[in-house]
Point group: C2
Chain length 253, copies 2
DNA sequence: AAGTGGTCTAGACCACCTA
DNA sequence: AGGTGGTCTAGACCACTTT
């Protein structure tokens, strides 16, 4: 059937509630999924997509941007946009289970195992660059979720009576605000490191696991707005309670 | 000094090589870093930023988009853009060390420990949904980098003489292409899971560690374009050789 | 009602890559 | 030289939130 004028796709519904760019992204994602655009191949130019779908160039660009964000395509300036192949080493993991648990405030319970002002020693003292005479606030907590132990935490901060951080650390009711939520005083930056760890007898007992079981250890070091290390700590979560999962490729096509 | 007309910022140099949006993003990032815009506060509206810096609204929007991408701010429709506080549970980790190692092809060395066609059994058979009579290709490799053992890998795939995956799996010279690089046949999607693990005697020996040392285990399951599980495997890398690090907050202000 | 971010237009010029 | 993605303009309308 010959049709005069511009050929506009009927795959894009501009009256729809879902944005045009999202619709276009979905169309292209689908075509990647069914190998219309196979791995390694070049996508039509953004300008071509814009023309054939009857949208503005910026809108088409935004659509491709979504796919690039998802890791499905790679843009190469001057050359084109290519369908990516899956690469293990380029994936990233989020602390999904941790986020879920700490978002579920009603079912969270925190038990303070220790709270003390100590002379500095060990890794915390090193990282917080304590000087002679400095004191550290040390807090040890057990975090339960739905009645089951979820995480063990130790946290250290330089003892500074003028800083609000001390109260925050000792107040169980605002624990979730201190680290996880939106109302803690605020740090400028932080660095996190994830380790595998074997639970010793004590930790295994606290976490309701058998000794020798494996766990994740998440260490955090936060800096205040003077770029001074201000707080250091570590969470230990048994591997049974925390899954680190990542999906790659096309999952909704 | 009174100045007539529009006030345009001298912080943005439109003749510069660095894009205007990146410059504007840097300015706002700096202001977050020095607490001109403290944690929790609202940023000036995108339109206001556009006006005061003499750029187009879309450009200002792009600049804020960079900061949102970095996790430094949160956009709330109808309300504004707010400076985020650091939250542990929202961070993500990338396999940085793995990527570095596998990008360094000249110093990679692969030793095949086992290559066989087996009757299915165990987790691999389960995940690959083998049927009666199916065979699995099983490959076990030791990956060395700069002369030192880096990772141990096992991989399974359904035995299908017509599929190119078999050759790929058995050919050491293209190992890096099979999983990590840009030239393997291509899967539609995959799921990865990261576990902590204790090295047993054999693995510890292979990886040059002492038994009982902790390691990361990265399991991968890939699906072909028919959504059929096609390949399953696992890497084990000692924690000494793989760091999982993440930075949050403002690091370049 | 006013202000905010979210989307979208219809162009433009540029740097870069490939042929 | 021609095509590609990268940037940018100067507006527009909308949905949503706040006042």
């Amino acid at each position: 059937m010959a049709q005069g004028g511009k050929k506009k796709s009927d795959l894009i519904d501009k009256e729809s509630w879902t944005p045009v760019y999202a619709q276009l992204a979905a169309v292209v994602r689908r075509r990647i999924a069914d190998e219309t655009y196979p791995p390694g191949s070049r996508l039509p130019a953004e300008s071509a997509l814009a023309k054939s779908f009857g949208v503005s160039p910026m809108t088409a660009r935004q659509a491709i941007g979504v796919l690039a964000q998802e890791g499905l395509v790679r843009r190469v300036q001057g050359s084109g946009t290519f369908v990516r192949r899956i690469e293990v080493s380029k994936t990233s993991f989020t602390l999904g289970s941790m986020r879920e648990v700490f978002a579920d405030l009603e079912n969270l319970e925190v038990k303070i195992l220790k709270a003390a002002i100590e002379k500095p020693g060990g890794k915390a003292a090193q990282l917080l660059k304590t000087k002679e005479g400095d004191r550290l606030v040390a807090v040890e907590r057990l975090i339960r979720h739905r009645g089951l132990p979820f995480a063990h935490q130790v946290a250290y901060a330089r003892f500074d009576p003028t800083a609000p951080i001390l109260e925050k650390m000792l107040d169980t009711s605002v624990l979730t605000e201190y680290i996880f939520e939106e109302n803690h005083p605020g740090f400028k930056k932080g660095i996190l490191e994830l380790y595998p760890e074997v639970l010793d007898d004590r930790l295994a007992g606290l976490l309701g696991e058998e000794a020798g079981v494996c766990a994740f250890r998440l260490e955090h070091l936060f800096f205040d707005f003077n770029d001074r290390a201000a707080a250091f700590g570590a969470f230990v979560v048994s591997a049974n309670r925390m899954r680190l999962t990542s999906r790659v490729g096309v999952w909704d096509g």
